[in-house]
Symmetry: D2
Subunit: 333 residues, 4 copies
């Protein structure tokens, strides 16, 4: 029985608490939030839940084995460090930390103390992303040409960061999971229109062997779009996460070089065949992820979305910030 302490009961915390409470093999020993309003909401949903307004009480509690850090990004490092120092495993919201240096320090600390870190890259546990990874692993798509994601809507989800740190971690973690290659460099452009935080941004990530990734994130879009195109040598796919069914469509389409000669001859030919929408599992990704966290803790095994994976994402976010400040200068990773 793994005893969980949850730090933060704001936007995402309720989902963490609800899911941990519904899983076997663990109990939610304590929930902490400084806001009385947050704790009142908690008590309405879960009258029997032990609570505190003091983070140190939770962080030092002998009845807590693992801490879920569900607080603003700027507090992640300090809270996670305290948790690890007190011998607790850490489940932590994305993005992992505010800087690569912080991320590396936490990874090192956890290794030294033999503790688990899992970064909440929830999308990696959705049926859609799992299916895409499977299609890639089985060679259905062939070599990857590009990964092109559009993630735009009206309004922000986090107050203390730019649209890059708010929305792009989803894409960067998915891309990291699917492409499985070390990126070379990041180019980012964007603009701030309201309060100084960048609200429209475009990020290109260069990978080896001509694979290119692009992420379009925007808080000022009148429509919500969650669409990713992935082009491969053999097949191409479209992932539309807003579709209730048919989230992934695989196209038997492609282009190939001809042995043509002569100035006016068409040297590339295009092929268009059937489309196929594989059935995608509809389970709640967060529940799957939290169950996997419990497994990793129980078995002392590193999760795929461990601190190292979280560090890779933070490194790309930092590079994007730097590139954007310099109007698109490529920042080598």
């Amino acid at each position: 029985m793994i005893r969980i302490g949850v730090l933060g009961y704001g936007y995402w915390g309720p989902n963490i608490v609800r899911n941990f409470r519904s899983l076997g093999g663990c109990e939610v020993a304590m929930v902490c939030d400084r806001s009385p309003a947050a704790l009142k909401r908690l008590k309405q949903a879960h009258p029997d839940q032990a609570v505190t307004t003091d983070p140190s009480e939770l962080l030092t509690s002998a009845t807590v084995d693992a801490v879920a850090v569900v607080t603003p990004v700027c507090t992640h490092f300090e809270l996670a460090k305290a948790a690890l120092e007190n011998g607790k495993h850490v489940f932590i919201e994305k993005p992992f930390t505010s800087t690569t240096r912080q991320a590396e320090e936490l990874v090192e600390l956890a290794a030294r103390k033999n503790l688990r870190i899992m970064v909440d890259h929830t999308f990696l546990f959705t049926g859609a992303v799992r299916k895409m990874r499977q299609l890639i692993d089985e060679g259905v798509l062939g070599d990857l040409y590009y990964y092109d994601s559009t993630r735009v809507n009206l309004g922000l989800f986090q107050h203390d960061v730019s649209v890059i740190w708010d929305l792009a971690p989803h894409d960067l973690s998915i891309m990291d999971f699917l492409i499985q290659d070390k990126p070379d460099a990041v180019v980012a452009t964007g603009e701030a229109h309201l309060n100084g935080h960048v609200d429209v941004a475009y990020i290109t990530v260069y990978f080896p062997r001509n694979t290119i990734a692009h992420v379009n994130v925007n808080w000022l879009s009148p429509v919500k779009i969650r669409t990713t195109l992935i082009g491969g040598e053999k097949k191409m796919l479209v992932w539309n996460d807003l579709e209730a069914d048919e989230k992934i469509k695989v196209y038997d389409k492609g282009a190939q070089m001809n042995n043509g000669q002569g100035l006016y001859e068409l040297l590339v030919s295009y092929r268009a065949g059937d489309m196929w929408a594989p059935r995608v599992e509809q389970t709640e990704a967060l529940k799957v992820e939290l169950g996997y966290f419990l497994d990793c803790v129980a078995r002392s095994e590193p999760p795929l979305n461990d601190g190292v994976a979280g560090t890779r994402v933070v490194r790309m976010l930092e590079a994007a910030d730097q590139s954007l400040k310099e109007r698109g200068r490529a920042v080598t990773l």
Copy 2:
């Protein structure tokens, strides 16, 4: 009666010939194509049309007042220059020329000879683009925050250029028409996967006063997308050119700064109201444009899509090429 000579009867030429033939106030005096197969297709559609396989015959003909150059980009400069030197007005496919220097030389030559140049930025004559310009001019959108276009499909439309020179001229000319401001700098990223020509590209154009534009062009997309988001201070719109009706949707949505204080207070508030799809004229844009060309020639007036406008687009294309080669270095315009 303006007498037109048409150079090139490949992909787009038939539309030029058909439309000029259907307009009053002009006649198609001659059509030239080096390919016998092209001329055979022409004869099937228009048995009475005078033809030639020799461009110089057309360019020097005393019965031609204006030349439509509908040939590959790499031939534009030479053919248009010859036409102007022979005292012919010029209607020319986009992109105008292969280099800014060529474009400027043609503009200067036309001015000296008091001849008209019109670059075929067809989209400026569609009901949709006209309606968007009207909404901007009337202040409906307020200050422009961003212009974000996705123009992707499977396959190329021109063999001798990259996807940037093939597809982006549409977006750059529309953007030039709508934003009506001088761009500062261009950042481009992209990759070539098949035959050395870049087939996936992302272009950011920085404008003064925080307006940012972005163009996503791709020849390797399994689906065809023609969608542009425009965000304004007061309203936002989506233009989906693949919709049969309701091409433009105007959203009464926006974000504004609050006078909030305190660390955790929401400083930006979002507003969502009705959506409105204004009726858009359905006339054939090319026919409108060609009629306007005849008017400009008859009245000796510069068209809005004159050589100067064409030069602005070529300058951005050149800058994009340069930036892409240097992996996103901002190229100042």
Copy 3:
């Protein structure tokens, strides 16, 4: 403080219990379900809720003022009758009863005992249906020409009835609310393919003055559709309930008679203008409805979706059954 007893905790019961518990002015005194598994689910969600497996305990309890009947249709009459006889107000799932005669008996009984009946026509409390009613009341649509609804999906929601009694009550109650006219006759066709229950059905309802309504319900559709077209003399609308936003689109389109003469002249002309998607309230309809039920009980006022409205819907369902059995014979209402 109105004390509610809830009979039935199957598919819909949890929503009733959750919403009543969240509303002020009432308390859920008791919940009854014969199934131990159902009560176990209830206890997980609401550990403090008083329960029983004996309906009579609830129906005769002195601590219950009103009973929510959330059980299969075939039990509605008996349970509602017992509730009324015990002096309880009744909130009851749609369809109201299995026969018109039962419905009329309950209405009469409630009137004699001065008790309220509300039939759960939830859709009448959605922002979309409210907005359509407003557009009709304000004359925006003009005289109604037709109401045409498609409500199809894979799978049934109720086991003991046909697709007509399962899905059509939604459309018939909405139509009753919007058209506000007494229907003349019902024609229905359909077929059973699996277990003897009709699973595909088409219902036409004739109203006075050329207004016609049609409902397409189907349990064997590979896709889920929830679309209603309403044609009016002045404007037309499409309600797509599966759209997240823009559920209602109002079209400035219409047809009108010309004063044309002569055999070949076009006597009807068509008009197409802007489209407009009014913002629709997003509140949870069931919560609004249950709050309204409490108000009606407190004020001793008949709800708009009272037993009489429920009877009108049951009468149309009975007529549809009868017509379908006779392969489309019009059944006069």
Copy 4:
């Protein structure tokens, strides 16, 4: 070389002329239209085309082997009869004739004179309908449960008939081609709102073995819909003819009976798997059909869309009219 005479150059005639002119193995010997405006349009497109304003000239011409009747329905019988009596094969617009009796008379006359009749059921020659027929023939869908078509838009296409005779022939001919079974009875409802012609109609066709078909046709719809659902025992499909690609989506979905016992047990279970959009040929259906007409004439073979097929459709149209007049009474075929 088959010599074609075309009667009528209104809405559809230009497509007939253009396609016959582009096909090998035939020539368009003469085109007839009483309207000088129509002939002027013809001359602009085809300056060399022989024309006449006198139908008898065409019908009795020794240089005409086959007549294409592309005139209003009310003239079909008389013109086709004259053509057959003069020994000409007949290609004729849908619907074949105004009455079943006329259709049967033409079929008999053609048989006696050993001439071909082809009714222009163009959809049977589209890639989409061909693909659906193939899926049915190969048993992919299994036994057919239902065929449900919605064909609605704003405006009429033919002035002299109701929406049933204007739009439903498409669906009835496709259904006749796909279901390949003799229908039992027709039920129709509908209403006229403007000039006395029914403009909204719903047609149910009963087939043996529980197969049911339904057609929803409407001239007063604000949106254009061309969607058909086909439910089979093994698989189901959606045909959306307005999709540029992916016109047909085949769903691995179904329902089947369980051997369950007991009152509350679910006796039907539902299955949902992958979706698959087979590539559909994009050739122009009319061109394929006209080429097939020439083949049938050359080989003296009856086309699949012969006069007998046309008669089957007219019989259903007549039955629908009759049923609609009697408010849904089932008319046995």
